[in-house]
């Protein structure tokens, strides 16, 4: 028992570092693939690391009337995202602290990260910050319920909101479920929205009228900006690993598994991440960004799909 605890603790620790280490790489990979797809050479996949390092060593420029909140938010944002990411099984389910927070909590953690970021966007009192925050909360006000609905359908299948439990149930196999398919589509949409990817938002733009996430962080610089960037990368990683551990859970090392299983798990995890990155890049390059006020329909669809999946499960319970 004790050594199981220790093993789990190890898994937990390694995962926390692993996600931190892999997040920039994932972003770099996506950018690289996108560049390739658009016939550009693109920067190296390790460029994000260099960016982060550069930013970290710059001094932070603060607007005159920036408050303490403005300076605290990046750390909160990063911490919340990191903890969330650390609780999603990546290569093994045996996370020692998995029981301290279930899928709903993880969603809520991301929500609070967004809450504070939106506040930070309004802190300096510029019009662009306002644009960003108000659009961000509009998007999230649809994305979050959609996410909750997805959680519901997963939880109803697995009789648990505990990610590790869900994952193991999935590994055991639940057969093909319409509701799960719906949930998958919905999750994909939510993931795109949450990470501010095309078509909802364009991480690469600074064109005033279209930007959402970038507008919020417009006033940030130096280490604060670095933390925010890193948090965003972590979030992307988190969602991809979420999809991975729920819908393609194969290869996950079960709790207290031997080193072999762990290595296997890591390998499969890497493969999943790469696949996810490529898929995302292809998806992003293949469509155009949509107008801000088309986004609600897009997300509304996700919400409806999630609700539909949940309803199906509710009803199928007595069949």
């Amino acid at each position: 028992m004790a050594n199981l605890q220790i093993a789990n603790l190890l898994v937990q620790g390694t995962q926390m570092l692993l996600v931190l280490a892999l997040a920039p790489l994932l972003t770099g990979l996506v950018r690289k693939v996108k560049a390739r797809l658009t016939r550009r050479r693109g920067a190296s996949v390790f460029q994000p690391y260099r960016d982060l390092a550069r930013l970290l060593n710059k001094e932070a420029v603060l607007a005159h009337n920036a408050s303490w909140l403005f300076r605290a938010v990046p750390y909160l944002l990063f911490a919340a995202t990191w903890v969330a990411a650390a609780l999603v099984p990546t290569f093994g389910t045996g996370l020692i602290f998995s029981w301290s927070a279930d899928l709903i909590v993880i969603t809520a953690l991301l929500g609070s990260a967004r809450f504070f970021l939106a506040l930070a966007g309004m802190d300096v009192g510029t019009s662009f910050g306002g644009i960003g925050s108000s659009r961000e909360v509009m998007i999230s006000s649809l994305a979050e319920p959609a996410m909750i609905m997805i959680v519901f359908s997963l939880a109803l299948v697995a009789h648990s909101t505990q990610l590790s439990t869900i994952a193991s149930v999935m590994v055991a196999g639940v057969g093909l479920r319409v509701s799960l398919a719906l949930a998958l589509v919905a999750l994909a949409i939510v993931a795109v929205a949450e990470n501010g990817r095309i078509p909802v938002d364009n991480p690469a733009t600074h064109l005033e009228l279209t930007m959402v996430h970038e507008a919020m962080v417009l006033e940030y610089s130096g280490r604060h900006l670095a933390l925010i960037e890193l948090a965003a990368q972590l979030k992307l990683l988190l969602f991809i690993s979420l999809v991975a551990c729920v819908f393609v859970p194969w290869g996950l090392a079960p709790a207290g598994a031997g080193a072999g299983a762990v290595v296997l798990g890591m390998a499969s995890y890497g493969a999943k991440l790469a696949a996810g990155a490529v898929l995302l890049a292809v998806f992003e390059t293949s469509i155009a960004k949509m107008r801000v006020f088309r986004v609600p329909d897009f997300l509304g669809a996700a919400l409806m799909l999630g609700l539909l999946g949940t309803l199906l499960l509710f009803v199928s319970r007595i069949l």
């Binding site: 005159h64 279930d102 802190d123 006000s141 109803l156």
Partner: protein, 673 residues
């Protein structure tokens, strides 16, 4: 069976008496310098003691007492059981905080003689309702509570709209009371007596029970602010002085919830399977409508009032689930849902009082409740801004604060509901879940807006620019409530366990004791199913944030340079270029409020060269007014106008009326067989 009075019951009663005495004292001392300290100080002491004794009363045995008051042949029946105790704790904690706050806030009141007598009376009424154990005493206390709060709502009767608000309030209140009166009439007709004992002994059967449910939903719902009976709430709560608004929003609505629980769970007998549905639906609708309207308001206290409607909705969804589970015999699930509801009752009382105090502090500091005249207060009011941030985060259900804990429990309860056999529930519960999730997300948006506009950014008015932090009493009250929010969020297990006696009393089953669970985390059903540990999450976040900060400042640079804002290269523009309350809500308005509230924007763009300012006018209407209450009022007016002709007949015509009546009655007799 006659219950013996317990110490706590006597303590609660003496608290009521003491508060009434304070009310008299308030009337006498109002104008003098002693008035404020005596009334608020006294109320603070009394409510604190009452809160403690009520806390000890939750697990204690039931105490009962019959005073020779009220309806003579049954007397005033008083009873202190676990449920009453739980709500007494809520009432008196809120009351204590409000009194403490009032010690400072009352200083700015220009007409104390219109507040001081009624404030303790209001508290007394709210303390008496949970103790009442017969219909008359209950309704007496209930309506007395409404009356006292009405007097407080119109305490600033010179300000426009306040008297009107009071009017709408007292009308809805008496509507609710009459509905409850009918409900009790039905219950008593079953048992023959007005005492709750007799009602329990002979619960209504068949349709009677259903009617009682509907009447209770109307009666208690109108006081709690369920849509569409909520219209008085956003008018009345802001009209009152802020510490009273806090009491009305944070505490009185909970007393209404108590009334609903007492009637439906305790007196109305075993529920039918469908009883949960109307409750759940009403709650879910209130949740979404309330928060959406909160997003449309530009007056801080109105925003808070509407957000109260949303939270009441959440509570009622919990209660509805509990009803449904109870009816279908899922004791554990019912206990979970019921606990969630009670937990949220407690949480919302704390959060909403805190937020109203904050709004009041802003009001005293800047003299304005209009969001678009505020801003940048985080620099001027450090303490208020911090506690308000905690309150906003808590009510937006962000972990690890208390609002999230109770909402999480509600979600867990929803996830158990597929077990329910009935189709109606299978379809309505998930929809309610989706609506709740929507409401939660919108609540976050709403409070980002509130906090961001009021406390962040640059001041939008002179007053905001040179606001000052409020007095120590107010700060103390706010800090205390913020502490409660944090504590209840970090150690939800303790609260849940404390609530269990009440749950057992009404559901019959209790949740697994949380104190046994390792690491103080909460496990509503089973570890494998779901668990949450606020403390641990908090520690994780805090430690990793600090760690990061430490590492960065150590390994990278901690250098900071102050500069004008970048803002895409604009020179720092006038503060009015900031996002305003209206503009911040614009996307959500366009997405949600177009159809529901017929929200419209009318832009007046002056012709080129004209110096007139461009204007935007935002209009939205509350469907409850547009489709229910205004038509009703119109109808009454029309009938009144018609009937009024009778005032102007000639004597001969009046005689004709008498004559007609006579002939009519004679005809009746002639046709009588």
């Amino acid at each position: 069976m006659a219950l013996a009075p317990t110490v706590q019951l006597l303590a609660a009663l003496s608290a009521v008496a003491a508060l009434l005495v304070l009310a008299v004292a308030g009337a006498v001392l109002a104008r003098g310098p002693l008035g404020r300290p005596v009334v608020y100080g006294g109320a603070l002491a009394v409510t604190l003691l009452a809160a403690v004794s009520a806390l000890t009363a939750i697990p204690a045995p039931i105490g009962g007492l019959v005073l020779p008051l009220g309806i003579p042949w049954i007397g005033a029946n008083l009873r202190l059981d676990a449920l009453s105790a739980v709500f007494l704790v809520v009432v008196n904690l809120g009351g204590a905080a409000a009194s403490l706050y009032g010690l400072g806030y009352g200083r700015h009141d220009h007409a104390p003689e219109r507040v001081l007598p009624f404030f303790p009376a209001f508290l007394a009424g709210m303390n008496l309702v949970p103790l009442a154990a017969d219909a008359y005493t209950f309704l007496l206390a209930w309506e007395f509570m409404s009356l006292a709060s009405w007097a407080l709502v119109i305490s600033h009767d010179k300000e426009a709209g306040n008297v009107q608000a009071g009017l709408v309030y007292i009308l809805m209140a008496s509507f609710g009371t009459l509905a409850l009166m009918l409900a009790f009439g039905l219950l008593a007709a079953g048992g023959g007596g007005f005492t709750f004992e007799a009602m329990r002994a002979a619960p209504p059967t068949g349709w009677a029970g259903a009617v009682v449910l509907v009447l209770a939903l109307l009666g208690a719902g109108s006081k709690a602010g369920l849509v569409p009976l909520h219209v008085w709430l956003p008018l009345a709560h802001p009209a009152a002085p802020s510490h009273v608004s806090a009491l009305m929003s944070g505490v009185m609505t909970k007393v209404a919830v108590y009334g609903f629980i007492r009637i439906v769970f305790d007196l109305a007998g075993p529920p039918d399977w469908w009883w949960g549905i109307p409750v759940i639906v009403a709650g879910a609708i209130a949740g979404v409508v309330g928060v959406l309207q909160a997003l449309l308001q530009s007056d801080t206290k109105r925003v808070l009032a509407f957000s109260t409607i949303e939270n009441i909705g959440l509570i009622f969804v919990g209660l509805g689930l509990a009803l449904a589970f109870k009816a279908s015999g899922f004791g554990g699930a019912a206990a979970l849902a019921f606990t969630a509801a009670l937990f949220h009752v407690f949480n919302h009382a704390a959060m909403k009082s805190l937020l109203f105090f904050g709004a009041g502090a802003v009001l005293t500091a800047t003299g304005s409740r209009v969001m678009d005249r505020l801003g940048g207060l985080i620099h001027r009011m450090p303490v208020t801004s911090v506690v308000m941030l905690i309150g906003a985060a808590a009510i937006s259900a962000l972990p690890p604060l208390n609002g999230f804990a109770s909402e999480w429990l509600v979600f867990q309860a929803i996830l158990l509901s597929p077990e329910l056999p009935a189709w109606g529930l299978k379809l309505s519960v998930p929809a309610a879940g989706a609506l709740l999730a929507l409401a939660a997300a919108l609540a976050a948006a709403c409070f980002v807006r509130l906090y961001g506009i009021v406390f962040l950014g640059r001041p939008r008015s002179e007053q905001a620019a040179n606001a000052h932090e409020v007095d120590a009493f107010s700060r103390a009250a706010m800090i205390a409530l913020a502490a409660i929010c944090v504590a209840a969020g970090l150690f939800p297990g303790l609260v849940i366990d404390a609530l269990q006696p009440a749950v057992t009393a009404l559901i019959g089953v209790k949740m697994p004791a949380q104190s046994e669970v390792a690491w103080l985390s909460i496990v509503p059903v089973a570890e494998s199913r779901s668990s949450y540990n606020g403390l641990l999450v908090f520690l994780f976040i805090a430690s990793s944030a600090l760690l990061t900060a430490f590492i960065i400042h150590r390994l990278a640079t901690g250098a900071v340079r102050r500069a004008p804002p970048w803002d895409c290269g604009f020179p720092n523009a006038d503060p009015v270029t900031q996002y305003s309350a209206g503009s911040f809500a614009q996307p959500i308005r366009r997405v949600f409020a177009r159809t529901l509230f017929a929200a419209r924007e009318r832009v007046e763009m002056p012709p080129p060269g004209s110096l007139a300012p461009a204007r935007i006018e935002i209009t939205a209407r509350d469907p409850a007014w547009a489709f229910l209450f205004l038509p009703l009022a119109g109808l009454v007016e029309r009938i009144a106008t018609r009937a009024n002709r009778l005032q102007y007949l000639t004597i001969r015509q009046y005689l004709a009326l008498v004559f007609g009546a006579l002939v009519l009655l004679l005809l009746v007799l002639a046709l009588w067989t």
